[in-house]
């Protein structure tokens, strides 16, 4: 599928969901069960994207110290856990990867 088509469909669906209850007001209620399940959506989807990016950098499982992306990811997870600071987490993870790559080149 063309990237523009993906964007238009994704955008139309997003707008549709933002418009949904504004348009339907008074005619429909969200079931309580669905409301409760919704808070698990972001951590589930994001973790499902994080794990392969860290453990399978070249499409094969790599659980070793030579997997710099995993190492840098662990740094970011620790910083994120301790500080809860989004920007600091991103910067520490990126810095860790750049430093590891730079060390690997110079050694």
């Amino acid at each position: 599928m063309n990237i523009w088509l993906v964007m238009f469909l994704g955008g139309a669906l997003t707008f549709g969901m933002r418009m949904s209850f504004i348009y339907l007001f008074g005619r429909f209620e969200i079931p309580a069960m669905v409301k409760r399940a919704l808070r698990f959506v972001p951590p589930a989807v994001l973790s499902a994207l994080i794990a392969p990016a860290l453990f399978m950098p070249n499409n094969t499982f790599d659980f070793s110290l030579n997997n710099y992306r995993l190492m840098a990811g662990v740094v970011a997870i620790l910083v994120g856990w301790r500080t809860k600071n989004t920007l600091l987490t991103i910067l520490s993870g990126m810095a860790a990867l750049l430093i590891l790559m730079w060390l690997a080149k110079t050694v």
């Binding site: 599928m1 990237i3 523009w4 993906v6 964007m7 238009f8 469909l9 994704g10 955008g11 669906l13 997003t14 707008f15 969901m17 933002r18 418009m19 949904s20 209850f21 504004i22 348009y23 339907l24 007001f25 008074g26 969200i30 409760r36 399940a37 919704l38 808070r39 698990f40 959506v41 972001p42 951590p43 589930a44 989807v45 994001l46 973790s47 499902a48 994207l49 994080i50 794990a51 392969p52 990016a53 860290l54 453990f55 399978m56 499982f61 992306r69 840098a72 990811g73 970011a76 997870i77 994120g80 856990w81 809860k84 989004t86 920007l87 987490t89 991103i90 993870g93 990126m94 990867l97």
Partner: protein
């Protein structure tokens, strides 16, 4: 007009957090191989931060379009809750106002607007506040995406810019891991994503997300 500027002011502290995200989005969309024009248009067509990051990652991995669209939809499901929550306050407005406000209904615009509505209740100019908050966020997102796209094109290609995506996801997930069910949702989704990685059409991602959501809901119900 007074309400409009009150909305802009209420939104401004949130904009400080949004700006760097827009920069990072722009830069990594370029790193994911998306053209500058498409990367910028995504910020106004999809106009949803985390969904745009996810779309960029999936485009980089050349996931099928349908899976990308489905993932954007699942990630943005929460907007239906926002929609339900603001609906009673803008019920009286004509359709063109509802359309504009629905388009501007992002996480950050919702956060500022719902606080205002809950404090003030229904006011005749409340929708101008909503509009001010939404438009302030929209403008910030467009400008910061554009700067990020410019920056992304300028960085040397040897930089592992694509790694900014999973790192950003980590930064988004860590602050919400506050109780056991939500940690279990994250861990189970991550594990299934690895086990099901070889499934065709990136279906492993959808499966992993569903297992995570189910695990979290199940544990919460048992507590």
């Amino acid at each position: 007009m007074k309400s409009f500027w009150a909305g802009v002011r209420a939104e401004s502290p949130l904009l400080i957090g949004v700006f760097p995200f827009g920069l990072i989005y722009g830069a990594l969309a370029i790193g994911a191989g998306i053209s500058p024009a498409a990367a910028q248009m995504m910020s106004s067509i999809v106009f949803a931060g985390s969904a745009q990051f996810i779309a960029a990652q999936l485009i980089r991995e050349s996931a099928p379009g349908l899976v990308i669209v489905l993932t954007i939809a699942v990630v943005n499901l929460r907007h239906m809750l926002y929609s339900a929550s603001v609906a009673p306050y803008i019920e009286h407005l004509p359709a063109r106002w509802k359309t504009v406000l629905a388009y501007l209904l992002t996480d950050e615009a919702y956060a500022a607007t719902i606080i205002h509505y809950e404090e003030e209740g229904f006011t005749p100019t409340g929708h101008w506040f909503f509009f001010g908050a939404g438009l302030a966020l929209w403008t910030t997102w467009q400008v910061s995406s554009a700067l990020g796209i410019f920056l992304g094109a300028a960085l040397p290609s040897s930089w592992p810019l694509d790694f900014a995506i999973p790192i950003t996801f980590i930064a988004m997930v860590m602050p919400v891991l506050k109780d056991k069910p939500i940690v279990a949702a994250a861990v189970s989704a991550g594990t299934v994503a690895l086990l099901a990685y070889s499934l065709p059409f990136k279906l492993g991602l959808i499966l992993a997300a569903l297992v995570g959501i189910f695990t979290g809901t199940y544990l919460e119900n048992r507590e």
